[in-house]
C-alpha cells in the first residue's frame, strides 16, 4: 500500500522532469503527461477504494535534526485517497484537454510539465502526514501557478497577473510559515499526528492556527487577499481550471481540514476563519453577478465557493469533523473543472470569453451546452447534482454548529451561506441566460457593454474584457483546430461526474449529510434567486447586471479597486525600498567613505605640517617630550 502512496507523489514529479526534458517533442510530452496522470489516477483510485489507514509511511527518512523531529511521513486514509483520486482525475482531464487546447502553442511541453509538477505539489500536500511536506506542496503549487498564469509571458497582463498571484499568496504565506513553525514548536515535531495530539501552550496554538488561516486566506483567496484570483484568469483556461478546481485554492481547505481537531479547540482562529469566509462568500458572489467576462465570473464564483468550504470548517461542530468542507471541495472540483474547460471550449468557438463575445454562443453547441448547463446548475445547487448535496451538507453542518453552541461564529456563517445561495443562483441564472439566449433576441437592444478602459489608465489588468486576449489572438491568427474527441470526452465525463459525484462523497464520514428543512429552504432560495434574474432580465433578453447603475457596476467589475490598494501597498514598499537604498548609500556607506575622506584630508593636512622645516620638527619634538613627560610621570604608579 505504502508504495502506492509514495508513487502517487513521486510519479507526477518525475513526469514533470521527463516532460521538461522532452518538451520539444510535443507528442512525447503529451504522452508522458497523460499516461502518468492516468496511472496516478488509477493508483489513487486504489488508495481510495482499498484504504489502509497508516500515518507513518516513510519517504526519505527522518531528518537528523537536534531537538526537532521531522519524520517526513506520508499519511494515507480514506480522505487522502479520495481527494487524491479526484485531484488526479481532474489533472488527467486537464492534461487531455490541454493537449488539444494548446496544440498550436510553442510552449505546450513546458505547460504540460508544469501541470504535472503542480499535480505533484498538490498530491504531496494531500498525502502529507507532516507539516513540512504540506508547506513544500503548498509552495510548489504557488510557484507553478506563477508559471502557468504567466504562460503567455509575451503579454504584459499575463506577466503582471502571474507576479501578482505569487506575490499576494506569498505575503499571506508569511502567516503560513509562522503558523507551521509555531505548531511544530509546540509539538517539538512536524509530524501531523504529533502536532494534533500535542498538548502545550495555547497561545502558541492560537498563533499557529491563526497563521495557517492567514496563509490559507492567501492561497484560497479570502478577503483581503482575494484579488489575485480573478486576475489569474490571464493564464490559459486549462491552467485556470487546474488552479480553481481541485488544487491550489482548494488546498487551504484540505490543510484546515487536516488540522480540524486543533481548530475545534481554538475559538479565536475559527472565528477569524468564519468572518473571512462569510465576508468573502457574499462579496465574491455579488461581484460575480456584475462581471462582464465569463472566466472572471467563474473566478469570483470560485472565491465564493471556496469560502463556503472553509465556512463549513469554521462553523461545523467538533464532533462532526471536517467532512462537510472536504465534501464541498470534491463537489466543487468536478463542476468547476467542468465549467472552466467548457468555458475554454466555448472561447475557442467564440473567440474570447468576454460576455459580449460569448453571448448566445452556447445554443448551437450540443454537448457543450448540456455540459455548461449541468455545471451551472451544480454551481447554483440544483438537485440532484453534486453541488446541491455538498453545499447542503455545509449548510447543515453550519446549522448544527449554530444550534450546538457555535454562537456568533456559526450564525454568521449560516446567514452568509443562505445569502450566498441566493446570489449564486442569481449569477448562475444570469450566466445561463446570457450564454443561451440567442443573440437575435437581444440585438434590438442597445449595446450596453462597458467602455473599454485603456490598460495603462489604472495600470491594472482588471480590464475585464481582455481576460483571454491570447486566446483571441490564437484563434484569429491561425484559426483553431476543432475540438478533438478526447477533449470533448473530458468535458462530457466531467459533466457526468457532476451528476453522479455524490456517490463519491458518500464514502466520506459526514460527506453527505443533508437536513430536510435546510435543503428545502435552500432549494426555495435557489429557485427564488433564479426566478428573480429570469424575471428581471426579461427572459434573458437583458443582462441583469446592466440594470445596476454604472457608477456602481464599473468599480464592481474592477473588484472595487482592491487591485489599486495592492498597487498602493506595493508602491509604499517600493518607496520604503528607495529610502533603504538611499540610506544604504548615504548613511551606512557614509562611514567607510567618510573614513577614506578623513584619512585623505588628514594626509593633506599632515603634508602641510611637514614641509621639511627643521625648526618645525624641533618644535614638534619638544612638544612631544613634554607630552611624553607628562604622561610618563603622571601615569607612573
Amino acid at each position: 500500500m505504502s508504495w502506492i502512496v509514495r508513487m502517487i507523489v513521486v510519479l507526477p514529479a518525475l513526469a514533470a522532469l521527463v516532460g521538461l526534458l522532452c518538451r520539444r517533442q510535443r507528442l512525447l510530452a503529451a504522452g508522458v503527461a497523460i499516461s502518468v496522470s492516468s496511472y496516478v489516477a488509477v493508483l489513487a483510485l486504489i488508495q481510495w477504494v482499498a484504504p489502509s489507514r497508516s500515518a507513518d509511511i516513510d519517504t526519505i527518512g527522518a531528518l537528523p535534526l537536534g531537538d526537532l523531529s521531522v519524520p517526513l511521513h506520508l499519511l494515507s486514509d480514506r480522505v487522502s485517497g479520495l481527494v487524491s483520486f479526484v485531484v488526479a482525475l481532474v489533472v488527467l482531464g486537464i492534461q487531455v484537454f490541454t493537449a488539444w487546447y494548446l496544440r498550436d502553442d510553442a510552449r505546450y511541453g513546458q505547460f504540460a510539465a508544469t501541470v504535472s509538477l503542480f499535480a505533484a505539489g498538490m498530491l504531496l500536500l494531500v498525502q502529507a502526514g507532516d507539516l513540512v511536506p504540506v508547506l513544500v506542496g503548498w509552495e510548489i503549487m504557488g510557484w507553478c501557478s506563477w508559471l502557468l498564469i504567466g504562460h503567455d509571458s509575451e503579454r504584459h497582463a499575463a506577466r503582471r497577473a502571474a507576479y501578482k498571484a505569487f506575490l499576494v499568496t506569498r505575503v499571506a504565506d508569511i502567516g503560513m510559515v509562522v503558523g507551521i513553525v509555531a505548531l511544530s514548536v509546540r509539538a517539538r515535531s512536524t509530524d501531523l499526528m504529533a502536532v494534533l495530539t500535542a498538548t502545550g501552550s495555547s497561545t502558541l496554538l492560537t498563533v499557529g492556527l491563526v497563521g495557517v488561516v492567514v496563509g490559507v486566506a492567501g492561497k484560497s483567496g479570502l478577503v483581503p487577499f482575494h484579488d489575485w484570483l480573478p486576475d489569474a484568469m490571464e493564464g490559459p483556461t486549462p491552467a485556470s481550471a487546474l488552479i480553481h478546481a481541485a488544487t491550489m485554492v482548494a488546498a487551504g481547505t484540505y490543510v484546515v481540514a487536516r488540522l480540524f481537531a486543533l481548530y475545534a479547540e481554538d475559538d479565536a482562529a475559527r472565528t477569524l476563519l468564519a468572518v473571512l469566509a462569510a465576508v468573502t462568500m457574499v462579496y465574491a458572489a455579488l461581484l460575480a453577478l456584475a462581471q462582464t467576462d465569463l472566466k472572471r465570473m467563474l473566478a469570483y464564483s470560485t472565491l465564493s465557493q471556496i469560502a463556503i468550504m472553509l465556512s463549513a470548517l469554521a462553523a461545523a461542530p467538533a464532533e462532526l469533523g471536517p467532512g462537510a468542507g472536504i465534501s464541498h471541495l470534491l463537489g466543487h472540483a468536478f463542476f468547476k473543472a467542468l465549467l472552466f474547460l467548457g468555458a475554454g471550449w466555448l472561447s475557442v468557438l467564440a473567440g474570447g470569453t468576454a460576455i459580449a463575445a460569448v453571448r448566445g454562443r452556447l445554443r448551437p453547441t450540443g454537448a457543450l451546452r448540456w455540459s455548461m448547463g449541468i455545471g451551472l446548475a451544480a454551481l447554483a445547487g440544483v438537485p440532484p447534482l453534486v453541488g446541491f448535496f455538498s453545499k447542503d451538507t455545509v449548510i447543515d453542518a453550519a446549522l448544527e454548529g449554530a444550534t450546538g453552541g457555535g454562537g456568533f461564529r456559526a450564525w454568521l456563517v449560516v446567514v452568509a451561506l443562505f445569502v450566498t445561495v441566493v446570489l449564486t443562483a442569481a449569477y448562475c441564472a444570469r450566466a445561463w441566460l446570457l450564454l443561451d439566449t440567442p443573440v437575435a433576441a437581444t440585438s434590438a437592444l442597445p449595446d450596453s457593454e462597458p467602455a473599454l478602459v485603456a490598460a495603462e489608465e489604472v495600470a491594472v489588468v482588471t480590464t475585464a474584457d481582455s481576460a483571454d486576449d491570447a486566446e483571441v489572438e490564437r484563434v484569429h491568427a491561425h484559426g483553431h483546430a476543432a475540438i478533438t474527441l478526447p477533449a470533448a470526452l473530458v468535458v462530457s465525463v466531467l459533466a457526468a461526474l457532476t451528476v453522479v459525484g455524490t456517490l463519491f462523497l458518500t464514502s466520506l464520514s459526514g460527506g453527505v449529510h443533508v437536513g430536510v428543512l435546510s435543503a428545502l429552504l435552500s432549494l426555495l432560495l435557489v429557485a427564488g434567486g433564479a426566478y428573480a434574474v429570469w424575471f428581471l432580465s426579461d427572459r434573458g433578453r437583458v443582462d441583469v447586471a446592466d440594470l445596476v447603475p454604472d457608477r456602481l457596476r464599473e468599480p464592481a467589475v474592477r473588484g472595487f479597486g482592491v487591485d489599486t490598494a495592492y498597487v498602493g501597498v506595493g508602491r509604499a514598499v517600493t518607496a520604503l525600498a528607495r529610502v533603504v537604498v538611499a540610506l544604504d548609500r548615504d548613511v551606512v556607506d557614509a562611514y567607510p567613505r567618510a573614513t577614506a575622506v578623513v584619512a585623505r584630508a588628514a594626509g593633506r593636512a599632515g603634508e602641510r605640517g611637514h614641509r621639511g622645516v627643521p625648526s618645525l620638527s624641533l618644535l614638534s619634538l619638544l612638544v612631544g617630550v613634554v607630552l611624553v613627560a607628562v604622561l610618563g610621570v603622571t601615569a607612573w604608579r
Binding site: S615, L618, L622
Partner: protein, 110 residues
C-alpha cells in the same frame, strides 16, 4: 658643603635656557649652542650626583668626560654639515624651506 639641590636647580635653569635657545633661534650655530647648554646641564647633574658618597666607580666624572667627548664629535659633524649647507644654500637659517628638488641625473649615483 653645598646642598645637592642647588646644583640641581642650576642644571634645570641651564636646561631651560638651552631648550629656549633651541626653539627660539633660527641660526644653526645658535641652535648648536642651545644644545650645548642642555648638555652642560646634564653634565652638572652627573657631577653632582657623582659627588655624593657611595657612588660606584666614580661614575659621575667619568660619564661627564664621556658626554663631553661625544658632544665634541657631534659638533664636528654638525659644523661640517652646516658648512655644506652654507655652501649650497648660502645661509644657515633653519626655518627656511629647504630646496628639495633633485635633478634626475642624481639618481643611481650610489
Amino acid at each position: 658643603m653645598i646642598h645637592l639641590s642647588l646644583p640641581a636647580a642650576l642644571a634645570a635653569l641651564l636646561a631651560g635656557i638651552g631648550v629656549y635657545g633651541v626653539l627660539a633661534r633660527r641660526n644653526a650655530v645658535l641652535v648648536l649652542i642651545g644644545v650645548e647648554l642642555v648638555l652642560n646641564a646634564a653634565n652638572l647633574l652627573l657631577v653632582t650626583a657623582g659627588s655624593r658618597p657611595g657612588t660606584q666607580l666614580s661614575a659621575g666624572p667619568v660619564l661627564t668626560l664621556f658626554v663631553i667627548t661625544i658632544a665634541a664629535a657631534e659638533i664636528t659633524v654638525a659644523l661640517a654639515i652646516i658648512l655644506v649647507m652654507f655652501r649650497k644654500a648660502g645661509h644657515i637659517d633653519l626655518t627656511a624651506v629647504p630646496d628639495l628638488t633633485d635633478d634626475p641625473a642624481d639618481e643611481g649615483v650610489s
